[in-house]
């Protein structure tokens, strides 16, 4: 059963007709040729597809396109402004935070969201005082908050460095 929907992808409004069974991830990759978000597991278990959906990090592999008609999608590609890499993407390059790069677009979107969430004062599972108004993104906070993004190459140590450098913390000892 087909449905016609509109998504704003990386600032561009796109209208497309999809089968109701199509996920946002397949709509992006297979219908709109937006291949920045990668398909790893297709079951919400790896984070490689991570995008910002209406401004918040989400997994488009578990989101039906028809349920997100009118949504705003930002991929790692779309985080760049005027041809300038987003500070998080820049930090991934500087910290050598990848090997094959397959998980990287998802990691970058997730990291951008982690910075925003910490800015809102959201605690994490390792925050000692849940009631505290501010959080400091030390290594354990970054590792916990980024745990929804697996890296098959195991670039985790440098990913934490990259996020810490943008957070303005040195991350502490490894």
């Amino acid at each position: 059963m087909d449905a016609t929907i509109t998504l704003t992808v990386d600032g561009r409004e796109r209208t497309l007709t999809v089968d109701t069974r199509t996920t946002v991830l397949d709509a992006l990759r297979e219908h709109l040729d937006v291949t920045s978000p990668k398909k790893g597991c297709d079951h919400g278990q790896c984070g490689s597809c991570t995008v910002l959906l209406d401004g918040r990090r989400a997994l488009p592999c578990l989101a039906l396109a028809v349920a997100h008609d009118g949504a705003d999608v930002t991929t790692a590609d779309g985080l760049a402004t005027d041809g300038e890499l987003h500070p998080v993407a820049r930090a991934f390059l500087d910290a050598d935070a990848y090997q094959c790069g397959y998980c990287t677009p998802g990691q970058v979107c997730s990291a951008a969201a982690v910075l925003a969430e910490a800015g809102e004062g959201w605690p994490s599972a390792v925050t000692p005082d849940l009631d505290a108004e501010r959080v400091t993104l030390d290594r354990s906070e970054i590792a916990e908050r980024m745990s929804g993004n697996l890296c098959r190459c195991g670039a985790y140590a440098n990913i934490v460095d990259a996020v810490a450098s943008v957070a303005g913390t040195d991350g502490g000892a490894r």
Partner: protein
């Protein structure tokens, strides 16, 4: 995947009427469990009734001092709510221990309560499962039971258990400890079900996880005012440090005066068909000295009827000492932290 129609009714009443009238229709919220099940063939509905926007996305103060959590509130927003973090810290901690940042942004309060078991055989349509297909048998009985129940799975006359699945929700565990109330609207009107009565034991019909009737929609969860909840915590033990389901978990709240436990709330996750309220442990704790011996006795009282599974591929007897130790250390940390 079976083709389906996606409907977006204007009101909760319309959504309820549609699902009540059509046995082939189901509600869709964040989709993090249902869309997975569509892909796996575990769920094969002909119609998805999207309830996004039809239930409240607000956490409201109740006149009695409690909180009303709309069914549409995302897990991340509930965990971040300052009132939840202050007055019900075990609930914030349980939410933060669940899934990942991405999933918590999508998952709703209603959907979290109704997520289905992660039993590998339930999710694999090529293996027999009484929960998926009543009467088919249970592949877990001879299989991989690391994530399965040790409490509350009744045996039939032949000594066989119909279903030994565990409920995967972290959020539901502290909600049970704090006597939350699930608010429903259905074809026959509204009702409020204490969460202590919301989840079913498998009995001889494991196909039903809860007492929810066809067409009933969760509209909110009420958290009653609970002074003891302000000193509560959630401890989750898993195979890796994050982004994994619980092997066992404990939500606990205690009040201690002059070295004596005056009141306690305890619930377990990962060990039964629903979150498990440890009333026997609570009874042992009340009035007893706040010592490790008491905490262990409380765990032993609750675990006296534990029936772990012993299978060729490992079984889950390890959960008994694991839960005993987890409860003991959780209570100790809670009491020490308060001193």
């Amino acid at each position: 995947m079976r083709p389906f129609t996606h409907l977006r009714p204007d009101t909760a009443g319309d959504a309820v009427a549609t699902v009540a009238a059509d046995p082939d229709a189901v509600f869709l919220a964040g989709g993090t469990n249902l869309v997975d099940h569509l892909k796996l063939g575990v769920a094969t509905p002909g119609t998805l009734v999207d309830v996004t926007g039809l239930t409240s996305t607000a956490v409201e103060d109740l006149p009695d001092g409690g909180l009303r959590v709309g069914a549409g509130v995302r897990n991340s927003d509930l965990a971040g709510d300052p009132r939840v973090r202050r007055a019900y810290p075990a609930l914030a901690a349980a939410l933060l221990a669940g899934a990942s940042g991405q999933l918590r942004n999508m998952a709703t309060t209603g959907g979290n309560l109704l997520q289905r078991t992660r039993c590998a055989y339930f999710q694999d349509v090529t293996t027999p499962c009484n929960k998926r297909v009543p009467g088919q048998g249970c592949a877990a009985r001879d299989g991989w039971t690391r994530y399965h129940a040790i409490l509350g799975a009744a045996q039939d006359s032949a000594g066989l258990q119909h279903c030994v699945a565990a409920h995967p929700s972290d959020m539901a565990v502290p909600m049970l400890a704090f006597d939350a109330v699930v608010r429903l609207t259905g074809p026959d009107g509204d009702r409020a079900v204490p969460i202590t009565e919301f989840y079913r034991l498998p009995g001889d019909d494991p196909s039903r996880d809860t007492v929810l009737r066809r067409g009933e929609l969760i509209t909110a969860v009420d958290l009653p005012p609970s002074p003891i909840a302000a000193r509560s915590t959630y401890r989750k033990v898993r195979d890796r440090a994050s982004y994994a389901f619980a092997l066992v978990s404990v939500a606990a709240a205690v009040a201690v005066e002059d070295g004596t436990v005056t009141d306690a709330r305890v619930a377990f996750g990962g060990v039964a068909h629903g979150p498990w309220r440890a009333t026997r442990a609570e009874d042992v704790l009340r009035g007893a000295p706040a010592t490790d011996d008491t905490y262990r006795a409380a765990a032993d009282a609750e675990l006296a009827d534990a029936a772990p599974l012993d299978t060729d591929v490992g079984g889950n007897a390890f959960k008994v000492p694991l839960l005993r130790g987890t409860l003991t250390s959780t209570l100790r940390t809670l009491v020490e932290g308060a001193a």
